[in-house]
Symmetry: C2
Subunit: 97 residues, 2 copies
């Protein structure tokens, strides 16, 4: 729990997550998006992985990262308490008979 909130606390890590919405990317491709050393990005990826917000897949000498549902579900569950409290608008549906 703590790990997940810590993971999304950092702006770079949130950007990494956003970037991965485009689909799986290897560490080098991710690092190239940021004006930051590769070891730093590697560290961020490690924290995101620990939080189960991303998954790592070794493909030869590359490591491919993608979003992991597991961690997001936990955050979602936490947030539910408050969205219920405020009754956030549900998606609208159309019914045809």
């Amino acid at each position: 729990m703590d790990t997940k909130f810590k993971a999304i606390n950092d702006p770079t890590r949130r950007e990494i997550l956003q970037f991965l919405v485009n689909g799986p990317q290897n560490a080098g491709q991710i690092a190239s998006q940021f004006d930051m050393s590769k070891p730093s990005i590697s560290h961020h990826l490690d924290l995101l992985k620990q939080a189960k917000l991303i998954q790592a897949d070794k493909k030869g000498q590359f490591i491919e990262y993608k979003l992991d549902k597991t961690g997001f579900e936990v955050i979602h569950a936490w947030f539910k308490t408050f969205s219920t409290y405020f009754e956030f608008p549900k998606p609208k549906i159309r019914i045809e008979i």
Copy 2:
């Protein structure tokens, strides 16, 4: 944005938010829930207020705090990208004709 994620990063602050689901409480009532000095809690309340996750209402010599929809909506919007990506289950409905 940054302020909001920082706010929910701390476990004590998340507990304060949970506690306020029960309804508005003044600073002393909140502080009494935690094994921590009042100034520390006061500081946490300040950060939550800056993040617009809570609102402060002065009532005489007391200050009443309650959850603030504003900040939660912003977090909700951020999260939407990912819940869409994973297609989290929508609430089920029953239709009778």
